[in-house]
């Protein structure tokens, strides 16, 4: 019945397409949401998509094997640093502007 999906987990294409779709979802969220924290969550989705692509390559190319894991771990650490700073900036702006919506941050337009 689903024979065309057999061996789907054994193909690099499946992992890379999955990562691409996840990245596109994150890009849409970053461009379309009004809430600053939603935009940060979308950035996290995009970083996770990149990590998934790296791990996928590491799973299919044995020479890359420990290096892919190490690169993914370093990307995670950078993502954690980015989330810390981003959320701190959002909280600092919220304290001044009393709104989390980015399209109301228009102080430099006036």
């Amino acid at each position: 019945m689903l024979a065309f999906l057999s061996d789907v987990s054994q193909s690099l294409d499946a992992y890379l397409i999955l990562a691409g779709v996840l990245f596109a979802i994150g890009a849409f969220g970053f461009l379309a949401r009004r809430n600053a924290i939603s935009m940060l969550m979308s950035i996290e989705l995009m970083l996770n998509a990149v990590n998934l692509a790296i791990i996928g390559f590491g799973a299919f190319k044995p020479e890359l094997n420990p290096s892919a894991s190490v690169i993914a771990l370093i990307v995670m650490a950078a993502a954690a640093a980015e989330a810390t700073i981003g959320l701190a900036i959002v909280i600092a702006i919220f304290r001044n502007r009393k709104t989390p919506l980015v399209d109301e941050y228009d102080a430099m337009r006036q």
């Binding site: 789907v8 924290i37 996770n48 044995p62 894991s69 190490v70 771990l73 995670m76 810390t84 700073i85």
Partner: protein, 193 residues
């Protein structure tokens, strides 16, 4: 009792079923993250998405990265984001518009991006990569167990590791400094959006 080689009625292997289930959960909850109105639910859907992604890492033969994903993303970043949500939401924010005015062009651009990536991936010949990946035999693949990752991290990549530790320290100190409550001013304008 041993499981059959392929699932009856479906004709696909167990690995494939697991991959499809995890991929479906991950993409579905990622879509919920970018479309739900209530931002707390967005954060909870993000946790589900990260959990399914950790399962995909295990399926790809990287159990150490999966453990780090659970610790860092589900344990730390999600909690940080949920705290920030509770600190910054006003009462009327959920009833307002979810998307900006350019949401439709953004959706079209995202669909085009996904299609371009999918076409590029399928059109590229990945024969330089191995055709079949590692499958579960009771232990992680060569170099992917804790010892292999530790040797790579602390021998070959020790300089990036140390740089990342300094980066994290700087980020933590900077985050505390930026989010620190300043002395309240009396002439602060009261704007509520």
């Amino acid at each position: 009792m041993t499981l059959p080689e392929t699932i009856p009625l479906l004709g696909i292997g167990w690995d494939d079923l697991l991959f499809l289930a995890l991929a479906g959960v991950m993409l579905g909850s990622a879509l919920l993250v970018v479309t739900l109105r209530d931002i707390i639910r967005c954060g909870l859907a993000m946790i589900v998405s990260f959990g399914a992604l950790a399962g995909l890492y295990v399926l790809a033969g990287a159990p150490f990265v999966a453990g780090a994903q659970v610790l860092v993303y589900i344990g730390a970043i999600s909690v940080l984001i949920l705290f920030a949500i509770m600190l910054t939401q006003t009462k009327d924010a959920p009833s307002g518009l979810v998307f900006q005015t350019q949401a439709i062009p953004a959706g079209i651009a995202a669909i085009v991006l996904a299609l371009i990536l999918a076409i590029t991936v399928t059109a590229t010949d990945w024969s330089a990569a191995a055709s079949r990946k590692w499958t579960w035999t009771g232990k992680p693949p060569e170099g992917q167990d804790g010892l292999g990752v530790a040797e790579a991290l602390f021998r070959d990549y020790v300089l990036p590791f140390e740089v990342v530790s300094v980066l994290l320290l700087a980020a933590v100190i900077g985050g505390v400094f930026v989010a620190k409550r300043e002395r309240p001013r009396v002439d602060e304008p009261e704007e509520r959006g």
